[in-house]
Subunit: 425 residues, 2 copies
């Protein structure tokens, strides 16, 4: 802790339209927070420990707004299936194994270590319906030093019998988790996690809304991911105008900080409600491609002032790396521009880097930027092995890393000013 | 050379609809050709050298039907631009550097080494307009042991002044290359390479058609990549019905073996002509996304019996790895199915693996499969670091490698029965 500076080529996005670049400068950190960035150290800075990464990039840590820890073993398999068959054939069967804590531990070790590797310093995570494996996952995140919101999944219908919860018990266990973990860690916190409307009774959703409000705890769920799912929800709640209104009417749509995964098939009313209520969209382009879900119109939502971050959505998505998710977000935005509406300009590198850092990071507070007062999550990136004999600008080096680099390029990771070592070694 | 067997879990696709899997078997190779696959070795096989990869996957080497060697330094940069501005701002400026042989050699070393790393055993490559750097590239491919068709690019208009060729000299140099390299190597061959219609005069295209026919040499070019390009070509040849007919009427569309990159905006007539003339489409999904070109309807072409292989299209595409290109091809086929036509079922893993091996490989002859008589290009793949404690079928292991693996999983590479060492070390 204390006072350190990281020296190198510093790149971040205070706003989304432009990369802010400080070549060969010092990022000054005190008690985990950014104090400033300077070209020369003055006498006041004499007692700062200098970590010299001259010639390396220093960028904010990546934020993953949506992924499922217990689906990690399924990453990159079963990809020939669409959402609902995939849930039944792959997902529910795997998730059911997490009543076993030994199995849970072995998977979570690999999962958290791989998050560390790819430079995801904060994430918003679905666990399983099982209370004890959720507690284990939270304890393991705390041990790792990475930041996370972790939710025990709630499901009391439309799932496999082994995972179908009793409604009251589901609520009791959720409250137990909140009470035990709300204040346990500065970096790892609980989040209310109804899986999605079809797997939750109205009673369960109401109860979860009460808990969120009572303890001022955030909420995560899924919304408007797939056309069949949207029709299914309409059948379940024929009296309610749209999907978002169901969550909203039950206290789960922005009363406390809320993130909804996917949001591909929003109506304009839903988009407006998200913007008005400050509800985040977790944009998960790889998952949306793999499960044949569709292409989220990110530009449309940005124009409507909806808050957006990126999600790997493991294991609907196969790429844990947020840089890879960034490239997919850009690619999809180009297809939306080309095929649906020429008003929706493609996302730029700078905008997507913003979504991957400060955009998602704001869900955690002052996270994802190097502005003064921000919690200093940082990565040190060495791109030298990606270069040929052509010289590149710093912006191009960042782009090269995002498009063609991987975890081997990340040489150090910091969360709130602390260097994080590879966990569980 | 001589007689060897590779032992392991053998997977390939004699036809596209199903993976053929031989668990724990021997792939028998004689003088570079596949003799057969057997579960047990008999007395006849006693004098074969056995290379034991028990527990590892043995799959055909990957085939890249379309990429540009001199664009390798631009891989993963300049991705915020569309095709024509990208050509002018990034591509032509880079390609012009290859009049310098030292620069060329340094780039080509990295380029060929990286192809080796990602398991691309055969590729169809655009070089530059410069004769000597093209010869250098061919010599370096020969030295590496990898297979390739390499073309000196022809351009006599609509490019930068430094690269605009004199028509007759362009033809003379192309002929010189053919004469010198047609019989120099069994694995590395020349290919006629007009860049695309807009950068070639009619006289040049006619001359190239004659050369292709005279020496029975294959042809590669670009076609129907981008909407603006298609309009441009229509302006240039208002009297000709479509893009394909221009190539066809000038002897460059299947008179000899031909591959056209992209083919996104084919008319039905063009698709039929490709099928009838046996012209290959090189499907380059990452490039088509990055340059906002569009989504090639691969299923439509497969239904029409067009021959298809995959291309990385470096540096329109940022991924050199054909497994990564496979995942993009599957993803795009899902969006085509979802958004344009529910008759066009998404590509399956097996179909895409076929395109990446035997589909593209057939451009080289009997390449890309382990059927009897095929030239044995093979990769040995170890997926153990990708697994958790969940046990996977062999099909799932292959899928896991394709979606989440990388060059670190490839432990040996063979071309026509010869193990290839890392080149230029």
């Amino acid at each position: 802790m204390g006072k350190i500076t990281l020296k190198g080529d510093i790149i971040y996005t205070p706003d989304k339209d432009k990369l802010k670049i400080h070549k060969d400068s010092y990022l000054i950190i005190e008690n985990g927070l950014v104090v400033g960035i300077t070209k020369e150290l003055d006498s006041l800075s004499e007692d700062y420990e200098i970590r010299d990464f001259t010639g390396k990039l220093i960028i904010p840590g990546f934020v993953d707004l949506h992924l499922h820890a217990p689906q990690y073993p399924n990453r990159g398999i079963g990809m020939d299936k669409e959402l609902i068959p995939w849930l039944n054939t792959y997902t529910f069967i795997e998730e059911n194994k997490y009543s076993n804590l030994d199995y849970s531990r072995r998977v979570f070790e690999i999962f958290i270590r791989d998050l560390w590797k790819v430079g995801t310093t904060r994430s918003v995570v679905f666990s399983t319906v099982f209370l004890n494996s959720t507690k284990l996952l939270m304890d393991m995140f705390i041990e790792s030093g990475l930041g996370a919101y972790v939710g025990k999944v709630n499901m009391d219908k439309n799932t496999t019998p082994a995972m179908e919860e009793n409604t009251q018990r589901s609520l009791r266990e959720t409250e137990e988790l909140l009470l035990e973990y709300m204040h346990k860690s500065d970096l790892v916190k609980p989040i209310i996690t109804p899986r999605f409307v079809p797997t939750c009774s109205k009673e369960l959703l109401i109860g979860l809304g009460h808990l969120a409000h009572k303890y001022n705890v955030p909420v995560q769920s899924h919304m408007n991911e797939n056309i069949s799912e949207v029709y299914w929800v309409k059948e379940l709640y024929p009296e309610i105008r749209n999907y978002a209104d169901i969550y909203d009417s039950l206290g789960l749509f922005g009363k406390t900080k809320t993130v909804m995964a996917h949001c591909i098939y929003n109506t304009d009313d839903e988009t407006e409600l998200m913007a008005n209520n400050g509800v985040y969209a977790a944009h998960c382009p790889y998952s949306n491609l793999n499960l044949s879900s569709g292409m989220m119109p990110a530009r449309k939502y940005l124009k409507a002032s909806v808050k957006i971050g990126l999600g790997s959505d493991i294991s609907g998505g196969h790429e844990l790396s947020i840089p890879k998710v960034m490239t997919a977000a850009i690619e999809i935005s180009k297809m939306v521009w080309l095929m649906s509406n020429r008003q929706y300009n493609p996302l730029t590198l700078s905008e997507t880097f913003y979504l991957a850092t400060k955009g998602g990071g704001s869900f955690f507070g002052k996270v994802g930027s190097f502005e003064e007062g921000y919690e200093c999550d940082a990565l040190v990136v060495d791109v030298s092995n990606l270069l040929t004999n052509k010289s590149l600008s710093l912006e191009e080096k960042l782009e090269k890393f995002i498009y063609t680099g991987d975890e081997r390029n990340i040489i150090e990771r910091y969360v709130k000013g602390i260097r994080i070592e590879e966990p569980f070694m």
